[in-house]
Symmetry: C2
Subunit: 156 residues, 2 copies
């Protein structure tokens, strides 16, 4: 299994929106955040999903994951009884050279926060930095979606 | 919504098996038992199900419930990461006059336990007691499936 290498940045302004070739509304919450068996409900565009993840094995290379598409109506109902802390964001896909940035603009309790992520094939791999790209926040736990649910941006 | 009136009994012997008109294997476990949002995985015969239930409203008359059929293979995988305490039983349906008894024979950690349940339309409604019907245990919490998971029969 390939290792995922991702770098995460803040963004300076809204210029990424003009360059975006795809926008997807994402709303997600959890029925359970117990690490051994998390149950996530997600609406992504016009699709709903229920996703169950187990805990990884000791080497961290494999983790049980099961996902089933459900209707947006069902997902909406399930989000109503989910744990407090719903993530509500729009994901903009933006090309930059050979790479694609995923730029997440958050709403609700995380209104005002926008982060951009790029996936690389190798550590140290070069990429073209868009002008709107700001400070790097790779690895900063407070920007994890799981943390944004518990300690949203408006509380920072 | 109609009130459910159920009476539960132990059984004296295996004679109910000759009278049974339907047998269904049931295996179930929980991904989450948090009352506000329980997530149950169930295999019933050749069907799998994932069921999410919310907590009832104050008057107890309505409770959010969402169920989706999934493959038996998927349900089997999900049971593997479920909370400890899987319920494994065969349900026998047995007619007795105008009523149908559901007789559950348990296996695994509850091996040796068999309970029979009958649903009535009204409190005090009469029904024909089959010869194999034993002591009444209606309302005894230790016979609830949720309790049999936590404190199985073999520990009694």
């Amino acid at each position: 299994m390939a290792q995922e290498i991702e770098r995460k940045f803040l963004v300076k302004n809204d210029d990424f929106k003009q360059e975006s070739f795809k926008e997807t509304k994402i709303v997600q919450g959890f029925l359970s955040t117990v690490p051994e068996r998390t149950v996530r409900i997600r609406i992504k565009g016009d699709q709903g999903f229920i996703t169950v993840k187990g805990i990884g094995n000791k080497s961290g290379t494999s983790r049980f994951e099961w996902e089933k598409e459900i209707s947006v109506e069902d997902a909406t109902d399930l989000l109503k009884i989910s744990e407090p802390g719903i993530i509500d964001k729009t994901r903009f896909n933006v090309k930059s050279g050979g790479h694609t940035f995923e730029v997440d603009e958050f709403y609700g309790e995380n209104e005002g926060l926008t982060v951009a992520e790029v996936e690389l094939d190798a550590e140290g791999e070069d990429f073209i930095k868009p002008k709107w790209l700001g400070e790097e926040v790779t690895g900063q736990v407070k920007y994890y979606n799981s943390m944004l649910m518990k300690n949203p941006y408006k509380n920072w």
